[in-house]
């Protein structure tokens, strides 16, 4: 068979979607694409228009349905920064893209380039892996009393598993030694507790990679002070947002970092900085952030050699002192260049390796082994009670309790009232400051059970008694484990 005797390696082109965005977007995208082309990236491009023009054209999401179709068909999206107009109900395209396409992982490598880019942290080389879909960023907010507004923090088992596995797979494929987890599970024992628990579980599958955990406040402080102590760090969404910005900033320039947003089917790559409209069109912007995003894209689609060549050429350009204005320093830099000239210098260096920085050398195939999430078997779930949240403008919890104790439903009783989490009944303190938002916990007396109909009955009595129930939270156990928190001070 000819194919066995003489295997011809056919380079497969990958079709990608490109958006040049707003402000400095077009010029840094042109610079980046010129480098990809010169380095021999096997890509074909579909260009779409997103951002300011689309928003101002009356589309509040900043993207047309046709563009969505192209993004979804190609599955790989290289995106320049866009400008979201102020006011007018325009929605963040970044948030929507991440969520619609299920881009659960945000990966941001942050390395300092000492001594060529000024930094207080010369030995920093970390990768932040941020959960990208859930947590407080689900954006579910409700105001239900005059005084109190609520936002839901949602943490899911699949969300935790997917991001933690991503972090370990990334560490494995990119030769990283340690994965660290940040959470606040000393306070949020269930939500952050789940994240930490899943981290420990999955770490067992990667015995060659070290793992440890820090409480987010101490962890963030250590990243800010001694980033060289860390390698890969994985975090829920909000902490990841904060820590990834800290990490990028302390490298010395936020203009040098790219990020990848990875989902089960689609992926988006970008610079971390914005569209910088004040310097647009002047050929002075630094294209490095988008170049770094494009390098992550190339490793994602398996074009590892091209990625390696570009990264080494880029490192050499930086150490040659060929710098755009944002990082130019008298004495350190050798020449100040524009966007185009910087790209030309990188192209010139393709095939060369840096001498002072360590040249990168990626694994043959950097695509990660990420099986689709498979739903676990359902647990045995039992209803154990209900929290009724009441809008009440009184101040003495005992008075409210007296009203609620009248609620006679099948051995279901008021067991506790809290205000902003702290127990105020029974046995509250007069010093506790109370808002108009009271969480009233009802549970069956010992040994008795409670049903959905009992809860409806409670709501009915409340409605008839003019008790203003604004929300409910059912209390459950799963496989016998109580799955709701006690009151503070309970």
């Amino acid at each position: 068979m000819i194919r066995e005797i003489c295997p011809i390696k056919i380079k497969r082109m990958t079709r990608i979607t490109v958006a040049k965005g707003d402000g400095i977007g077009p010029e840094i995208m042109d610079a980046t694409l010129s480098i990809l082309k010169a380095a021999g990236a096997q890509i074909e491009i579909d260009e779409i228009e997103i951002g300011e023009k689309v928003y101002l054209g009356g589309n509040t999401s900043g993207i047309s349905n046709e563009s969505w179709d192209i993004i979804r068909r190609n599955k790989v999206f290289l995106k320049a920064p866009i400008t979201t107009p102020q006011g007018g109900g325009y929605k963040s395209l970044n948030v929507t893209t991440r969520k619609f396409l299920g881009l659960y992982a945000n990966i941001r490598p942050c390395a300092s380039l000492h001594p060529f880019v000024s930094t207080k942290h010369p030995n920093m080389d970390i990768v932040i892996v941020r959960e990208n879909e859930e947590d407080l960023y689900a954006g579910i907010e409700h105001q239900q009393t005059d005084e109190v507004i609520q936002c839901l923090k949602l943490i899911s088992r699949p969300g935790c598993e997917k991001i933690v596995r991503y972090a370990f797979e990334y560490a494995k494929q990119f030769g990283r030694k340690k994965v660290t987890c940040f959470s606040k599970d000393n306070i949020m024992k269930q939500t952050d507790g789940l994240f930490h628990h899943v981290f420990n579980e999955i770490a067992q599958e990667y015995p060659d990679i070290e793992h440890d955990h820090w409480i987010i406040d101490i962890g963030a402080a250590l990243v800010a002070d001694s980033p060289e102590k860390f390698d890969v760090i994985v975090m829920p969404n909000l902490y990841g947002d904060i820590v990834s910005d800290i990490a990028a900033q302390i490298t010395g320039s936020v203009g040098l970092a790219g990020s990848a947003n990875i989902g089960e089917t689609c992926a988006m790559f970008e610079a971390i900085h914005g569209s910088a409209p004040t310097i647009a069109g002047q050929n002075i912007a630094n294209p490095s952030g988008l170049i770094q995003g494009a390098i992550q894209m190339l490793t994602h689609i398996g074009q590892v050699g091209v990625a390696e060549n570009i990264q080494n050429a880029w490192l050499k350009t930086i150490e040659d002192g060929i710098h755009t204005a944002d990082i130019y320093q008298e004495g350190t830099s050798s020449v100040k260049v524009g966007t185009k000239e910087f790209a030309a210098a990188v192209i010139q260096n393709i095939g060369q390796k840096p001498k002072q920085f360590k040249a990168v050398s990626y694994a043959k195939d950097t695509r990660l082994n990420l099986p689709k999430y498979v739903r676990k078997a359902a647990m045995k779930k039992e209803l154990q009670g209900v929290d009724l949240f009441v809008h009440w403008s009184g101040s003495d919890a005992n008075e409210l309790a007296k009203m609620l104790e009248q609620f006679a439903v099948n051995d279901i009783q008021l067991s506790m009232i809290t205000n902003r989490g702290i127990k105020v009944y029974p046995d509250g303190f007069p010093e506790t400051f109370c808002t108009d938002h009271w969480r009233c916990r009802f549970k069956p007396t010992d040994g008795k059970s409670i049903s959905k109909m009992d809860i409806i009955q409670l709501l009915l009595i409340a409605a008839k008694s003019n008790i203003d129930v604004v929300k409910t939270e059912n209390l459950y156990s799963f496989d016998g484990r109580t799955a709701y928190s006690l009151g503070q001070g309970q």
Copy 2:
């Protein structure tokens, strides 16, 4: 009248509660109290026992009711660090104390002591004012589906007003020039939006103090990189937790910072570090953190002159190079001393001023003008719909929608389904990853109204149709303003 002719200034003693705590607690408290006494602080002391011994004696809260009574009677509490035993359901005494006593403000000054304490940030001198009671730290968590756990973030109008006013009053009394607010109101438009809004409102009352706002991720990055750009920073609880740890860490030592926890009636003062049991009883711990806490206490109770004398003596001791082991550096320090010797050196320096550091000079009366919160008039609240959260193990939102569309209640209709916040019905994307936790929004058709009885009716139909509603969130408007968020992508 004799009293008018010859007014005798009677120094009023302030009775305070002291807990020596665990680990290094007793020795740093003894050192601190010896300095207070030598400086002429007008205090009388009631000592209570809290912490490890009390926990292990079977009291899961780590404090007896008698001790609570003393704390509440004296209203001023100077507390050494304690050890919370691992496991066994022991509750954090710090969290409970803050919440029970309504200590809404946590104030942590963080200044570098360059060149005497090694730091990358020689010109840092900031004060973090952290909201201390609400936000995610209300600790209200519920798991209601196999896959998803929820934690409530609560932000209240009085909570925001009290902490923001505290920050501005503090700035005014301590001669600070600027108050900065951190929030994430680009994502959490209602909760963090309220915090930011109240900040802008109250800032107007302090025209002599500059004010500005940063999104928390960028703000935290700037604090980590360039803390000298900030002065006083005010934040909700979680952000404050993270940023105050960053700020303390990058001064060069977390052993030097104290913090105040202030409520409307009570206040607690402490070091920010823990009980460090491994070095306990060896006379090597640095008492500076607790000394700083005690200085905050003295300004709080109006003993400003004593506070000033101690602070200046302490600064002089540091610049004299008289250092405990934790900050001792060959070449910079002149002598390594123990806990007692450090305290003796501070006492020796009372009445003297530092020469290299700027001597402090407090206002005559540093007690802040903080009126009790007065509840606002109730707004006009209208029910506009309800979010039913459904536990459902299917994967196609259209299928769930079909079931829910059958719910015929007085012109109330299913208007949207989201999964982890992102709209999946109508017009969802197949790429969106879905968990088993579906938020199903019901609203009346145009022009119609909805009542509590309608919601109960919906729940009744759900129960009968085996739709597992695990929680509800009512949708309201206040004074005509819609007070709940849209779905992402809606």
